[in-house]
Symmetry: C2
Subunit: 279 residues, 2 copies
Amino acid sequence: MVIRRLSIIGVGLLGGSLGLAAKKLINGCHVIGYGHRAMTLGKAIEMSAIDQATQDLTEAVRDADCVVLCTPVGMFQRLLTQMSPSLKPGAIVTDVGSTKRSVVEQAEKILPETVAFVGSHPMAGSEKRGVEFARGDLFDGAVCITTPLPTSPVDAVETVENLWKTVGMRIIRTTPIEHDQRVALISHLPHAVAAAMVAIQNDPSLALAGKGFLDATRIAAGDGTLWRDIFIDNSDAVRASLGRLIQELDHFATLLRPESASQLKEWLDQIADKRQSLS
Amino acid sequence: MVIRRLSIIGVGLLGGSLGLAAKKLINGCHVIGYGHRAMTLGKAIEMSAIDQATQDLTEAVRDADCVVLCTPVGMFQRLLTQMSPSLKPGAIVTDVGSTKRSVVEQAEKILPETVAFVGSHPMAGSEKRGVEFARGDLFDGAVCITTPLPTSPVDAVETVENLWKTVGMRIIRTTPIEHDQRVALISHLPHAVAAAMVAIQNDPSLALAGKGFLDATRIAAGDGTLWRDIFIDNSDAVRASLGRLIQELDHFATLLRPESASQLKEWLDQIADKRQSLS
């Protein structure tokens, strides 16, 4: 399916960037932006991130070929419920949420049978928030995870995956549960740890903060509402990842003795190799 | 005191960068580089990071006004012992080690009374190692911690602090113990945590690694020998910092419930503000 009308629900960093990219890369695609703040919508129009702005959800999704939820995950349930009656038959709904199990469950439960939902998690973004930081190349070269179900219509899956490919992303398909476990380990846990690491610093230690600390904790500057929703939604997998990390830190602590110097070096060397291989 | 002869013991990233900066910024300063690998010394000469290279420690320190230890901390004891008989009276010795309590203790015990030691920790560097990554502006704008003792000669303290100021650093003076505690929290702990976070990843999670994870774990690519020495030398303070972090992560884990959503948001918001204020 060719997307002629794309509805972006929530025009922040991700929604705005998707609008910029879609308007540039999808021929003849009309982009509608929904939001509750007039100022944000005005800025999105000014930046040409969207063609049309509305604070009315019904107007935003009516006649849309594809609707993309770009708000924090905690708002999805209400938005899906409110938009359901206004979606045209054959419309495809997706999202950019950082959790997928509960999102896919909600969508399956709430949306009418005439509408297909395919979960997406474009792994792009930054600690910045707001449409003013939107960039048309935000998605370029990054990974997008899609989580279709065995019952998802092939056409809908292809349309959603093509949308992300068009804006430059590489697709990895997983189940919703597998997605949540994998991102808990590689994304949600690092965020929590960076936050805790900032929390425990005091003025004397912060006076010594160098590039290493700043890089390691940059993600902790991210939006609190967004991350609250992610952590609560994915609490089981986050707890499991946290347990695994603490186990590894306990192991590290046992190596902090002159007698364990060679094992400690081996641990550090193996990890340095593994990290270097990533980029 | 004007440094006319500067001896750099260990010509890696830090030693090489110090040589480049000193040759550029200290008028008429002759820089001698000591190392055990001929190839490294050759490269340092080729890059003009040093004026003269030697694999003989006695030759390296003889007649030096100032000697800077730039090897991993674990080699300091042997180097100080070997160089002691060859240091001229009035020579000043300093270092770039990331731990200070044991280093200062060793230097006080080993060096002759005619020689002054002032501990330094220039907080610059990167996960890269080797003189080929040396840069004359590596220290520019960063913090250098010095740890003079109440008994340190004022002239020696000034000479060492001026050396770091000349290459662009801002000086913070602390006691050796206070240094070790503060850097355990802001530097050594983040390294250990980044390492553990890399260690627990598997191929499926690593396939999803994005910019956030890469930034948060970049320090874990650092040199294993260097970090083994730091961790073992500063094990008490590292263990204490680790305990504090795990306490904070336990607190975070208690907030992972819908009932605690507002407290979790408050925790995340406060941390995001604190982190944003840093840069």
